[in-house]
């Protein structure tokens, strides 16, 4: 088995790398293939909390690298899907605990075991980021429609381009977009972001209050089909990663309140 190693990165912190990793991982696994989620944010581990697996963590990535345990022992099996596994980061160590060569070796091993290896990179572009992209073959860059996030994403894409030999493709997810603010010109639109970054778009995820609820519950949104906004967006992203052609969500329709819906019903031209 030769899996695909995909790193989820952003440069800027707080744009939703970990949320995206958890949701894409769960959506991918739900459609069949085996998935390993690797938390590379050593010292600030979060992915286990988003997955609701923090009480099951015994060994971690650093233990594997330091050969204190076998890789299989450190992998935490998801409580929902048996084909989804989490390799948690160490919480009591820092990013210097591993190096790029060790990460390459680790991802090689994971590639042999899983169809998809999703690496959740830490924020920043220092050694933690370098380690995270060391073994990656593809990259997903997360960006919010803000100038600062776009600039950091641009920097990261530049760094990824410099490693063209290893990283064959990189695609963009625009996260937390608010269609009503875009409409009133208070927020950058998808086109504005793409114009600056000029990369292939993988998906657009709308702002969704349910993301916070799901984080607190430890149940990623993409796991259930009864949600419409962010959960659906992440499921579509997972499909696109698998090579399916899925049209982008109509965000305008999603943002409609009951009032605009009523107005639209009677007078479609007004909205």
């Amino acid at each position: 088995m030769t899996g695909r190693v995909i790193v989820v990165t952003s440069g800027k912190g707080g744009v939703g790398k970990t949320t995206a990793s958890a949701n894409i991982g769960l959506a991918l696994a739900a459609s069949g293939p085996s998935v390993a989620l690797v938390d590379m944010d050593i010292g600030l581990r979060n992915l286990d909390i988003l997955m609701g697996l923090e009480n099951r963590v015994v060994y971690n990535l650093v233990d594997v690298v330091e050969e204190k345990c076998k890789l299989r022992q450190a992998l935490v099996k998801d409580k929902r899907l048996p084909n989804l596994n989490l390799l948690p980061a160490a919480q009591t160590r820092d990013k210097t605990a591993v190096n790029a060569d060790q990460m390459k070796k680790l991802t090689e091993e994971l590639k042999g075991m899983f169809d998809y290896v999703l690496i959740d990179s830490p924020a920043g572009i220092e050694s933690g980021f370098q380690n995270a992209i060391a073994g990656a073959e593809e990259a997903v860059v997360i960006c919010t429609p803000e100038m600062s996030a776009v600039r950091d994403a641009d920097r990261v894409i530049g760094l990824l381009e410099a490693r063209k030999d290893e990283i064959s493709q990189y695609r963009l997810i625009i996260n937390r977009i608010r269609p009503h603010m875009v409409k009133s010109n208070d927020m950058m639109s998808v086109q504005d972001v793409l114009e600056i970054l000029s990369v292939k778009l993988l998906g657009v995820v709308p702002e969704d209050d349910q993301v916070i609820v799901s984080t607190n519950k430890g149940e990623p949104l993409s796991g259930s089909s009864d949600n419409q906004k962010a959960g659906q967006a992440y499921r579509n992203i997972a499909k696109r990663l698998q090579g399916e052609e899925v049209p982008f969500l109509n965000l305008d329709a999603m943002d409609a309140t009951w009032f605009t819906k009523v107005v639209k019903f009677f007078n479609p031209a007004r909205v």
Partner: protein, 378 residues
Amino acid sequence: MSKIAIISQAEQGVLIDISGCSSLAEAKQYLTSTLQVSSQFWEGLIVDLNLGPLVLTPEQVSDIQSFVSELGVQPRQIFSLSPITRASLVHVLKSAEEITPAHATLEEMVAQAEYVQPRIIRQSEQPRSDVLAAQAAVGCATQSAVMEVANTEPPLTTYGGSHSQVDIEESLPGFTVVSFPECKTEAALSTPLPCPEPVSTAFGGGQQTEAGFAVNSILPASKILQTRLIAAGIEQPPAPVKVAPEPAKAKALSPQPAASSGKPMTPAVMMMKQTLRSGQHVSHKGHLVIIGDVNPGAEIVADGDITVWGALRGMAHAGANGNTNAEIRALKFEPLQLRIANAIARSPDRSKGPIVSSGPETARIVEGKIRIAASDPE
């Protein structure tokens, strides 16, 4: 190997090991980040410092000494793998004493370099009253009783003897010899160094095998029983809590030579008066008492019992050396994970609602599984 390790030793205080650091600046950075976290904790504790292979000039040695003392740490002993650094230590010691006997032999100097106890370094003469109070609280009858028990366990750290001359030379291949007025490097090389063995602090240092947690070294059952009886004060009436071990006995019990004999030693109970936050890791080769909370993401590991006078929300591992009779108790019991010896228990999933603690509880192994019950005064 980690850049910095804090290894608590049942009878020998705490060893701060910065042998993973490759430069003075790096060492200072890690010392700052680690020691400042719990500055009050270091006060009055016996602390040893291992510089590892760091090569330091006399100026740098006094620099690092004043640096750690600013952080509240007064090292009793400083160990070094590097003969250069050891020569520097001698230099600093001599200049501090302002006596440089011209007739002093190199061997004498080197001997002093091994156990640097410079005048400029203060050492607490009296054990802290709160540590003693904690001892009393946990029910350890006397210092000597605790020490006796602790001695049945294999010593955590072996000083001296383990590092031969060959090791030193290997650690410094082709290094240019720099001589200081008092000491020649060749002489330093000819003496075995008192270098602490690097000890893994992760998961209590127990060796892990494929089966998961392997038992490192288990006390004979009778010894455990004895330990517990003494601790509970059943066999022996509790003596007044005053640390006064006979010097001869202390010497016999302690694997460490010279410096520590007859001096008050850190008891087998370690008490920390602070909240442990995410990412902090404390391990101890005896009983561990935390006056404060243990937050999610923090890890506490002890060979003996763990008592948290506060909320336990992180990971606690008692009996890390395989002692299945170890207990974990806390005022508020909301741990992410509990480990006793080689048994693991995890908290219920968050989706099933929050864990509500119903007052002080104790976790112990019953029929091979960890059971939590309300604490009763027995």
